[in-house]
Symmetry: C2
């Protein structure tokens, strides 16, 4: 990172500026209502410059999605693959969505508005799809392990994972309309409580 020339660092910064402006505009208006002219003007570059960084508008969009998906992955995956007990992992997973909601509202808006849902694998961006699939399969394994260890009840793990992901997504979408820290923390607590009341074995 530090052994790059000023020029190279500038280039990276410029690319980031363009992506950042693109995210703002796409999240606000959607892919098709934002022109390359809009992005260029917003970022303070000429249109031609965008094409020095991205092959096409489509490519720019995909790079943006990959970027954002990567950030989300960095938050969620370490939790799921760590070696905490299943119950703790799941609680942490749910509550880490507070950080996601804070940092990635724009991306989440964009993602859901362009792709429909975070729970289904069907987007344009390969990386996003991979990440969703990874989270899905990690969650599934956690639930199944929990069941086999008798920490969790005998539930249909597929449905639980589907429901949890869908609920968190809908909640974050809802929160992203008007962000309110207290409400988010509280809502996630309710979601946690709610899922565990269903999952936990009465001991």
């Amino acid at each position: 990172m530090e052994n790059l020339s000023r020029k190279e660092r500038d280039k990276i910064r410029h690319k980031k500026e363009i992506l950042s402006e693109a995210l703002n505009l796409f999240a606000e208006k959607g892919f098709h209502s934002v022109s390359m002219q809009d992005i260029a003007a917003g970022a303070g570059f000429g249109v031609g410059t965008l094409y020095n960084f991205f092959q096409s508008k489509e490519q720019l969009f995909e790079d943006l999605m990959n970027d954002c998906a990567e950030k989300i992955y960095q938050v969620l995956c370490p939790i799921l693959v760590g070696d905490l007990p299943e119950e703790a992992k799941l609680r942490l997973f749910i509550n880490s969505h507070k950080k996601l909601a804070e940092d990635n509202i724009k991306f989440i808006k964009l993602y859901v508005s362009e792709y429909g849902t975070l729970t289904i694998v069907n987007g344009r961006s390969q990386k996003s799809n991979d990440i969703k699939a990874a989270i899905h399969s990690n969650l599934l394994e956690i639930i199944q392990t929990g069941i086999s260890k008798n920490v969790f009840r005998q539930v249909d793990s597929e449905i639980v994972v589907l429901s949890l992901m869908a609920t968190l997504q809908a909640f974050i979408m809802e929160s992203s309309k008007v962000y309110n820290e207290l409400k988010v923390r509280n809502g996630l607590m309710q979601i946690e409580q709610f899922f565990f009341s269903m999952l936990l074995n009465v001991s």
Copy 2:
């Protein structure tokens, strides 16, 4: 209905044919990847004809959404406003999604792909938004009444409704990829069981 001239009935049929083809194409490719030419060709009319029925492509799309939303409303709302006990209403509501999945896969695909989610009020079509809001508020009331009657536990009703709607939506989306009657019935049963294990007071 029956006291219309042949011509009038033809016109209505033609409109339906156009909407039906539009639904097929939009569901498959999304709004922006389908041209009026495509729809016209698919329905066997000239492009100009579409403009005798619809003011614009945007208007055609909205009419289509309203149409479909109305159908869904006709399935779900009678259940929620009937005078069954809360528990029965909720069980019926969940399981009636089987019929929805069967009849409206294309619409649901389209709707979710264009609007992001069924749980959030934010679409282009006023009617769809009204319907979602109506379902949401009916569900909310059912849960709250159930709680006050001590049939349901003290839960956060907002979160339960959010989660239920999100779960059902995600499940139907998932099912719409490859429809399988048994899987749908089974999944809905799991969802029912899952939500009631959380909701019902141990009596």
